[in-house]
């Protein structure tokens, strides 16, 4: 059973503003029948003030689709059309106290119905450019369509690159096989994967054997002084903070002990199920910045100082 919040249950069991709005002057109909969702949003907009006086919905869909529709109507009644347009699907999900990652698309449908209804009111044509695929990474809510896009547009070739571009697979890592499948499928389509030369079974294709290219000596990383190294770490963390702050959290450098770098995650990060992923992101960034392997650990694991 899904772990629905009380707010989702409240809006599912007793939906607000369901039914037909006869006086509607704006109607948005969106949905995807294969994934079992369809929503008709009906609005009554005051032509003078542009205020949404009333809103009603009809939804074919699961518990969170119905709850998202109900929440949406509650959120937009009393707003002007332009104010309503600033709402995103995240706002709907937040209003409901969060949705399971598999169900975020229900809030997307709500946000799209709103845009479709307002386009209808303004007499504009509304085109749905939203694509959706199987959910691959549950930690960051990344679906197959998003990975395909990232791989195609950026010419990605490895799992690590997909993680850098989309975050997919960056936290619990259990979806790595699925990411590789999507990657292989896209690469096969674009011809990036060339089949190996075929030979009669039991023979070795001599053409396949080439002298190993001389390995270029890795340019020795200039040795940093302790002060330079500390500054490099501090500026790398400083660079990462805005991104983490956008998610409502923060990160702070606590201590450097050789290869062990202790940080403290605060704000929304503390206790967040994805904090392990964030720590790993910080570690990757530092390894990149320093050109050496370091471990990022939570400050709580710092050895107690003797005396």
């Amino acid at each position: 059973m899904w772990n629905y919040t009380d707010k989702v249950k409240e809006h599912f069991f007793n939906p607000k503003n369901s039914g037909v709005l006869d006086s509607a002057n704006a109607v948005g109909e969106v949905g995807s029948i294969t994934c079992g969702d369809a929503l008709r949003l009906m609005l009554k907009v005051d032509p003078d003030t542009q205020v949404i006086l009333d809103a009603k919905f009809q939804t074919f869909g699961c518990g969170s689709a119905i709850a998202s529709s109900s929440a949406l109507t509650e959120m937009i009644i009393g707003k002007t059309v332009d104010e309503a347009l600033t709402l995103t699907n995240r706002d709907i999900a937040e209003y409901l106290g969060g949705l399971p990652p598999e169900k975020m698309h229900c809030s997307v449908m709500g946000a799209e119905a709103l845009r479709a209804a307002i386009a209808n009111y303004k007499g504009e044509e509304w085109v749905d450019d939203h694509e959706e695929g199987e959910l691959i990474c549950k930690c960051f809510g990344v679906d197959a369509a998003m990975i395909e896009r990232a791989v195609t547009v950026n010419g990605l070739t490895s799992l690590e690159e997909v993680t850098h571009y989309t975050k997919a697979g960056g936290s619990c890592q259990t979806c790595h096989e699925k990411i590789e499948e999507v990657l292989e499928a896209v690469m096969a389509k674009t011809g990036a994967l060339k089949p190996a030369a075929k030979h009669t079974p039991g023979t070795v294709g001599l053409d396949a054997i080439k002298p190993l290219p001389a390995k270029p000596e890795p340019a020795a990383a200039p040795k940093l002084t302790n002060v330079q190294r500390m500054q490099a770490i501090m500026s790398a963390i400083e660079e990462m903070r805005p991104q983490i702050q956008r998610d409502g959290g923060d990160v702070e450098l606590v201590d450097i002990d050789g290869k062990d770098i202790y940080v403290r995650l605060t704000g929304a990060c503390s206790g967040c199920s994805q904090s392990a992923g964030t720590m790993m992101g910080v570690q990757m960034k530092l390894v990149e910045a320093l050109g050496e392997f370091v471990r990022v650990k939570p400050a709580s694991l710092m050895p107690a100082h003797a005396g």
Binding site: G19, I33, T34, G61, C62, S64, A116, H130
Partner: protein
């Protein structure tokens, strides 16, 4: 319409027995001494081990009796249906490395389908997935056409978990034998509900799962006909005559033995009392609710299973409202699984999406009571009407579907 407020039994109404069943108290009683008293390792020389070894052999004989197998040594205990299915297929393709084709059906359990997908993609096997018709019946002509001396193994389920539809296993097995292919059947849903006599059958291998017949989870068995080439999936100790290494899950094996014994004695009841309850539930719902229909083949299915597709509403919403009434059922809707598409079984039968999403499975067991069925009959029509009143596809006043054409993404 409001939902009538009849009394909900305290323990809830459990109509999801194709998902899993309650462990029978008699089964549990047989198991308990194995945890504390007879805890020895059956491989050990001492008396602690010997006592457990005897219990396991008793359990093996009970499973042999339930399947009507010729020899008790044909039963290999495993961790469940999935392991049995995987072992059967991997064992046979390893035993017959030159045969590069596998025949299965489009409505199999993922334990078979996902493995076949993997073998197709990573090991270059040719997979024949036999289609079904609108009632879930296997396309016998397509099956015949797929069979050849290149086929290593045929794996076809005895009864479908979602609709209960039964396949003509004996006929299929004989056709497979005629071309020299090994025949395996995933009988996880059928064992205990359909009488079997594998000693006289062309079936070579059969998978069963304990928790579908009132034994605990994590135990199952694979029937391997004597003389069949076999390669183990798990290698290690000599347990199960070296066909499945690893110290025996003795308490669960004894539980499965006890459950098999009970299943044999309750088989008549499943096909009379339970079947009658199922039929009563189904007829009452069909009579009270417009725009719904039974999926699968109603004339040839498991006695405990009823799958009704309610059009123009979505399964998860139905399940949530049923759950409020203390009723446990399950759905072929996409949303209950987190995938984006409705059940592969509904799609294979060509059930339209608007109905496939509302497919709801009620699966009964010998624990089901008449009072429980009464309560379900009383509340289902109200639940369906409530959701349809929210649906853009449904015209409330007219009580029938209406035109609705959203922009599809």
């Amino acid at each position: 319409m409001t939902i009538p407020n009849t009394t909900i039994p305290n323990r809830g109404i459990y109509l999801d027995n194709n998902a899993t069943t309650r462990v029978d108290p008699d089964v549990l009683a047989e198991m308990l001494p194995l945890f504390t008293e007879h805890f020895g390792n059956p491989s050990s020389m001492h008396a602690f081990g010997a006592a457990v070894g005897g219990k396991i052999e008793w359990a093996r004989k009970q499973v042999q009796a339930l399947l009507g197998a010729a020899h008790d040594s044909e039963i290999v205990f495993t961790s469940g249906g999935t392991e049995s299915d995987n072992t059967a297929i991997l064992s046979i393709i390893e035993a017959y490395p030159k045969k590069r084709e596998i025949v299965t059906s489009v409505v199999e359990h993922p334990a078979v389908l996902a493995l076949c997908d993997y073998l197709e993609k990573k090991r270059d096997y040719k997979i024949h997935r036999i289609p079904v018709d609108g009632k879930g019946n296997l396309d016998i002509d397509a099956y015949r056409a797929a069979l050849s001396d290149q086929v290593a193994i045929v794996s076809i389920m005895w009864a479908n978990n979602e609709t209960g539809t039964i396949f003509p296993i004996e006929e299929l097995a004989q056709m497979a034998k005629a071309v020299g292919a090994v025949f395996h059947t995933d009988a996880v849903q059928a064992v205990g509900k359909i009488p079997m006599k594998l000693a006289d059958s062309a079936v070579d291998m059969l998978s069963l799962s304990g928790h579908k017949l009132h034994a605990p989870k994590g135990i199952g068995a694979l029937y391997v006909k004597r003389g069949l080439r076999f390669r183990p999936m798990l290698r290690g100790g000599h347990q199960e005559r070296s066909r499945r290494a690893g110290t025996e899950n003795a308490p669960a094996i004894v539980g499965l033995g006890a459950a098999a014994h009970l299943a044999l004695s309750h088989m008549g009841e499943e096909n009379t009392r339970v079947k009658a309850q199922r039929d009563r539930l189904e007829q009452a719902i069909l009579a009270a609710v417009p725009a719904c229909f039974v999926t699968g083949n109603p004339d040839h299915r498991l006695p405990n299973t009823c799958n009704i597709a309610f059009e123009f509403i979505e399964g998860e919403a139905i399940l949530l409202l049923l759950n409020e009434q203390g009723i446990a059922a399950s759905s072929g809707s996409a949303c209950t699984s987190g995938s984006l598409e409705p059940s592969h079984v509904m799609r294979a039968m060509g059930v339209p999406y608007t109905a496939a999403h509302g497919a709801t499975r009620f699966s009964l067991s010998r624990d089901t009571t008449d009072a429980e069925i009464d309560h379900v009959i009383a509340v289902v029509p109200g639940i369906i009407a409530k959701l349809r009143s929210l649906s853009p596809y449904w015209q409330q006043e007219a009580g029938k579907p209406k035109e609705f054409a959203p922009v599809y993404s």
